[in-house]
Amino acid sequence: MPAPEPVMTVFPTTPSQTVGPYFAIGLVGPPWPDAALAVPEGAPGAIRIGGMVYDGAGVEIPDHIVEVWGADPEGRFADLHGYGGPSEHEGFRGFARSGDEDGDGSWSVLTLKPGPVPGLGGTTQAPHLDVSVFARGMLHRVVTRIYFADEEEANAADPVLRTVPAERRHTLLAQPVDGGYEIDIHVQGPNETVFFAV
């Protein structure tokens, strides 16, 4: 499917700039100590999703931010504008931000495993999270999705995954591990993660 033409707008958007190396001052840490928690610690059904972020030389990117946004297990969002009304899970924010303060290139968020949500043209989207990655050296965010490797049937029918070349789909699949899922993000390189134009 071809992308629609860019729209002519009255007011063009403000351009993006890099998040730079020092975002922890403002985006994570003291100003927002629970930024990485899409649900409170100890919430029933909470899972940890995380991994590493690598550059094109396979080196960890320490100064990165990973943000996730997704539905709750019933496919409802922490937003009125989803389907079926807002999530009823107490304290579910749907959004989490992991900024690497340890400097080892890792990221990790706590959330609920999303359920399937309706897709275009009567399709059903497999459980997934939308992901933004920011870093020093990136002038604009990149967007990817996280799917779950143990949702084989749902993944096979997912309208977005089906547009991704089969040999690259694995870069979007989080693997089950103790207490959650693991997936690395390769900004560049032989295992480059699939990134999307939204």
Partner: protein, 255 residues
């Protein structure tokens, strides 16, 4: 605060009155800087080489975190960076204010705006910043606020200094304040930098110039505004921010 009140606060963040588009417009290719931009050396190993795959916007993309007042730690002094410590920070006190709009000029209300910046000497209070400029014990350099019903935001802060960096010989960043905008949908998310008018470092900064269109670069520069100055208190700069607006096709019909 009782449990009941906390629950009510969380409900307040859903704003059913806001008209939410069913899709957001695609932007022209030069609206944002390229991810691969050799003059900014760190982009070299940090840009994808495979083409981006077109993702039709669906429910996950047109919804977004309604953080507004729901941010757990949004404190009263979060938008006054000059009052977060014991004493007054050193430097030129300024008010930075403006409005957040979409590309149709509709204000985006109740949305989170986060900023961070260097102090007056150009030094960040961050352990990785090793530049030999003084730290200011009275300045941390982070602020957050939520836009009002007109999409307005306002910060009181100190004018940040320019600072050197290692991109190339004698590289300097023009003075800037980092801005993070949530918008109201995943699709509207934006991280950018606000600059000050007439900065002599503009022609030499690859990050500023990574935005190839001159008119687009101007949209990152604030304006000195004598009318917004607070007499005997602060000089003022105003800066409006535009996030993506409604697209042409409602997403249900896009197939």
């Amino acid at each position: 605060m009782s449990d009941t009140q906390e629950t009510e606060d969380v409900r307040v963040i859903y704003d059913p009155v806001v008209e939410t588009p069913t899709s957001y417009g695609r932007e022209p290719a030069d609206a944002h800087p390229p991810l691969d931009y050799p003059p900014y050396k760190s982009t070299q190993l940090r840009h994808p080489k495979e083409p981006l795959i077109y993702l039709p916007q669906q429910v996950t993309e047109i919804t977004g975190p309604q953080l507004g007042r729901g941010v757990s730690v949004l404190g009263e002094l979060d938008n006054d960076l000059t009052k977060q410590k014991q004493g007054m920070p050193i430097g030129e006190r300024i008010t930075v204010s403006g409005r957040v709009f979409d590309t149709e000029g509709k204000p985006i209300r109740n949305t989170l705006v986060e900023i961070w910046q260097a102090n007056a000497a150009g030094r960040y209070q961050h352990r990785w910043d090793r530049w030999e400029a003084p730290l200011d014990p009275n300045f941390h350099g982070a602020g957050r606020t939520v836009t009002d019903d007109q999409g307005r935001y306002s910060f009181t802060t100190i004018k940040p200094g320019p600072y050197p960096w290692g991109n190339h010989y004698n590289a300097w960043r023009p003075a800037h304040i980092h801005f993070s905008l949530m918008g109201r949908a995943f699709t509207q998310r934006l991280v950018t930098q606000m600059y000050f008018p007439g900065d002599p470092f503009f022609p030499y900064d690859p990050i500023f110039n990574s935005v190839r269109d001159e008119k687009a670069r101007e949209r990152m520069i604030s304006a000195f505004d004598i009318h917004a100055t607070v007499p005997n208190f602060s000089a003022a700069y105003t800066w409006d921010i535009y996030l993506r607006g409604p697209g042409a096709t409602p997403f249900e019909e896009a197939f």
